[in-house]
Symmetry: C2
Subunit: 209 residues, 2 copies
DNA sequence: TGTACATCAGTGAACGCGCGTTCACTGATGTAC
DNA sequence: TGTACATCAGTGAACGCGCGTTCACTGATGTAC
């Protein structure tokens, strides 16, 4: 009764994932526009031509990586922003810190390629970030504080939060990249990020004064 | 009496500048980590080996580009932030819009390589941005509004402004890159950026409440 | 269950090409007298 | 001002190498009956 995927298709998925993992590893020290197809296949341990069974080009692989890196993050961001009161900022900063610690290569990839040299990948990231902004806007709109706010202003604020989250993620990343990664450095970033978001929230509270 | 540079040195400077200009052009559509040495010399119209008379590597050239792109911007940022009152934000947004319109390739380069795949270039950009933040902090400290603020909080705020300026610059850039660059799109970015900075300023005013 | 054929993920050889770097060079510019 | 030597920005040939892409292939998996 239960439908199994088939050995062939399962194996194909596995190889595809191996391509994504290998590429992500190689992209820690270079950008996508210099990533070679043969380099990736070598890291996976297959023939160069096998690449074409999965992706048209490294740009195509890059777009797949964008979805992997950001696709599953939407519900978590939504939930975090939906947290009421002062706890929202604390949770947001912790979410970012944990996510960077758990998936540093994904975060680096997004930060790097957001303005990188491969147009379709930039586009894919821009679309994902626009989705995040829309979702943050939707959650912010539910706050009592959102009363009297125009849709336009809420979206402006949502973008401010999303950009701020990205900046914070990239600062956490730098603490991991440093020769001597320290808990103290992470605490410092968390401290600054928390206060920057508090300052923005304060601005929000007095926006309609 | 006047000291001329010498024909040889003047010619060398001219060639060096041709390298920088050519590289900047090529970097509109790729990132530094994929920029080839031969590609640059071909664009300049000299032999590949001439490159080594000026730079050790393309990474070295990248660092030179960082200084060219950001080095001369410090006095302008200082003056703008020193503007008192509500005019400060208007002037800052106009400064950014004008700078992006005048030097789009420089702005794109900085946005792209800030998190790019070439460590020395990332480092150079980080140092320049830290200088900007310090300078903004110094100017902010002169405001009456800065009374009661700790140095740490002023620097936190300065970073927020600097990051915000970069985000705005990169949004102006996107309006130029779009297939149909419109004055309306630029106005929209200016409008949003102005209100985002106003919101931050509002937060600043109520920080010590 | 068994057989005969179709599909298709991964192979391996081959291609032409542009890459970064080396080296000894040339000839205009600079300098000492 | 003129001469003899030094400097050095740019040259051009040569190198070994890895690149992306093509093609016909193999053999395990899937499917029809």
């Amino acid at each position: 009764m239960s439908h199994t995927v088939g050995i062939r298709q399962a194996q194909k998925q596995k190889t595809r994932q191996a391509f994504l993992d290998a590429a992500l590893g190689l992209l820690e020290e270079q950008s996508l526009s210099s990533l070679g197809l043969r380099e990736v296949t070598r890291a996976v341990g297959v023939a160069p031509t096998a690449f074409y069974r999965h992706f048209r080009s490294t740009a195509d692989l890059g777009v797949a990586l964008v979805d992997e890196a950001l696709g599953s993050l939407h519900p978590m961001v939504r939930t975090t922003v939906a947290t009421p009161g002062a706890e929202r900022i604390t949770r947001a900063v912790r979410l970012i810190a944990d996510h960077v610690a758990a998936h540093p290569a994904h975060v680096r990839f997004i930060a790097r390629e957001r303005h990188g040299g491969v147009q379709p990948v930039r586009q894919a990231i821009r679309e994902q970030l626009a989705r995040f902004a829309e979702e943050v806007k939707t959650e912010l709109a539910k706050d009592p504080e959102a009363e009297g706010w125009s849709d336009e202003d809420l979206l402006m604020l949502a973008h401010l939060y999303v950009d701020q989250m990205l900046i914070t993620a990239s600062l956490f990343l730098e603490t991991l990249e440093s020769p001597e990664p320290s808990e103290a450095a992470r605490q410092r970033v968390a401290h600054i990020a928390t206060r920057q978001m508090r300052l923005i929230s304060l601005g929000r509270q007095h926006w309609l004064d």
